[in-house]
């Protein structure tokens, strides 16, 4: 059996289907391990991993850190707010300084699209992209697809609609690549002002009517409206967005069909999804979070084998 086809995890776009299958297979084992009384294995006790977060994150950062600790790796954390980046240090210098302290692997979130790939070309270390601007968020897409597989048995042949702010979403792009590679059909739904220009060139159809999109799909992935990335107004008001694209009990009742509801978090309750739905049995939001740790353990484990 070969390993992963890549030395880094920069995005889903360049992964093979076999890579994704292998990550899922290993994640199954780790999911079992994190549900045991002793949730830890000694596998990576000789590895040190730096988590570099140049942008805020709660879930992803915690999830990566837990995954690393469950594998017994040593972990150092770094966030831009409290660092020398403020003093004018470049990205490559910052990372090289960290690597000089004998770090084996770098997990990085950065506001600039392509930051992870840029780093991988200039740095001699294994890089895992934990989100680069509006580009990709590969581990989120992997855990989303893994959660669909867990809930529905298979990803292939399933219909998934991604609803909301596609324009600013790295989750959407990574999800589209990942789901398509696994044989699912993907549509995006939201106001046209929040659709990237060339989205249809990815083989994704746009649906502007939420009800129609829900009638079509097996899985609805509700994205967050990213207030912090909107320099200009893309829709008149949050209230209007909620009326058109908010997922509520009424609209679900009106289509009379069982759907799997997903959300990558953090949830804006009452905006893209009502509290009632977010807490309902069809929502697998917390399963996604649990699976996130298993998926990240699998990615780190398989990449660490290449160091």
């Amino acid at each position: 059996m070969k390993g992963l086809s890549t030395k880094h995890l920069l995005g889903i776009e360049h992964l093979e289907k076999e890579d994704i299958d292998m990550i899922f297979q290993v994640a199954d084992n780790f999911k079992d391990i994190i549900n045991r009384p002793i949730k830890k294995v000694p596998t990576l006790r000789d590895i040190t991993i730096a988590n570099l977060f140049f942008e805020n994150s709660t879930r992803t950062k915690l999830s990566f850190e837990l995954a690393e600790k469950r594998l017994s790796a040593d972990v150092v954390n770094f966030s831009a707010a409290s660092s020398s980046v403020k003093k004018g240090e470049t990205l490559i210098d910052t990372v090289n300084n960290i690597l000089a302290m004998k770090v084996d692997m770098v997990v990085m979130r950065h506001p600039s699209p392509g930051a992870a790939e840029f780093l991988s070309k200039h740095i001699d270390s294994v890089i895992i992209n934990a989100g680069d601007g509006t580009h990709e968020h590969p581990t989120q897409a992997l855990l989303d697809a893994y959660s669909i597989r867990e809930k529905l048995g298979n990803v292939s042949g399933k219909k998934v609609v991604i609803v909301g702010d596609i324009l600013h979403s790295r989750v959407a792009l990574s999800n589209i690549h990942c789901l398509q590679k696994l044989g699912a059909e993907v549509k995006v739904c939201g106001p046209l002002t929040l659709m990237p220009k060339y989205i249809e060139s990815l083989g994704v159809k746009i649906e502007t009517n939420l009800k129609k999109a829900l009638e079509w799909c097996d899985v609805a992935n509700m994205l967050r409206i990213q207030h912090e990335r909107q320099e200009i107004k893309h829709f008149p008001s949050l209230k209007e967005y909620t009326l058109q694209y908010g997922l509520t009990q009424e609209i679900l009742d009106s289509i009379n069909k069982e759907l799997v509801i997903m959300h990558p978090g953090p949830i804006n309750r009452g905006v893209e999804i009502s509290s009632e739905i977010a807490d309902s049995d069809s929502a697998i939001i917390l399963d996604q979070v649990e699976n996130g740790v298993a998926i990240r353990m699998a990615v780190i484990y398989l990449l660490a084998g290449k160091i």
Binding site: G3, N29, P37, L71
Partner: protein
């Protein structure tokens, strides 16, 4: 590189060994009320299954049987070219205060058994762990580990490999010695 094969055990001989090992287990574990069989993945599970069947045949006892994967506890991670891909651990019972009989096909360096014991202890504290192997390649240990029950002792060279084949996956029951 030419491979030379020599058969060490045939189907009948394996069956005789399994019968003898089962009787030895019965001698020490009586009714198996507190005892469990745990096969070491990937290939110890076949020995465990045979023992379980034979035990039922000889004494009517249905002993609890599981399997354990050692991948994440091995000490050769990142020392091999290929990644170590895990198998399934199947322990849907508690091992707390149980007499565990750990089962593998071949005992060689002892490193897999060390990893299996570490993996097992993350599930709880058994009252004891014993080791049963079908084949013991003696004088080749890297660690101070010996089996409590041995099917057959074999003297081998380090460039030789012992392969245990099973009807279920390889089409026949036999043990061969392969020279690289």
């Amino acid at each position: 590189m030419s491979l030379q094969e020599r058969e060490i055990l045939n189907k009948t001989e394996i069956n005789i060994l399994i019968s003898r090992l089962t009787r030895q287990l019965i001698e020490n574990h009586n009714l198996f009320q507190q005892s469990v069989l745990i096969g070491v993945q990937p290939r110890g599970i076949y020995v465990a299954n045979r023992l379980q069947e034979k035990l039922k045949e000889l004494s009517g006892i249905e002993v609890v049987t599981g399997s354990i994967d050692t991948t994440f506890f091995r000490d050769d991670f990142r020392r091999k070219d290929k990644p170590l891909l895990p198998s399934v651990t199947n322990l849907d019972f508690s091992i707390e205060d149980k007499k565990v009989i750990l089962i593998d096909d071949v005992l060689f360096s002892g490193r897999t058994v060390r990893a299996a014991m570490d993996a097992l202890l993350t599930y709880g504290r058994p009252s004891s762990i014993e080791l049963l192997v079908l084949v013991d390649r003696r004088f080749s240990r890297n660690l101070p580990i010996e089996a409590n029950y041995v099917g057959k002792y074999i003297d081998t060279l380090s460039n030789e490999r012992v392969e245990v084949m099973w009807q279920e996956i390889d089409g026949t029951d036999k043990v061969i010695l392969v020279k690289k």
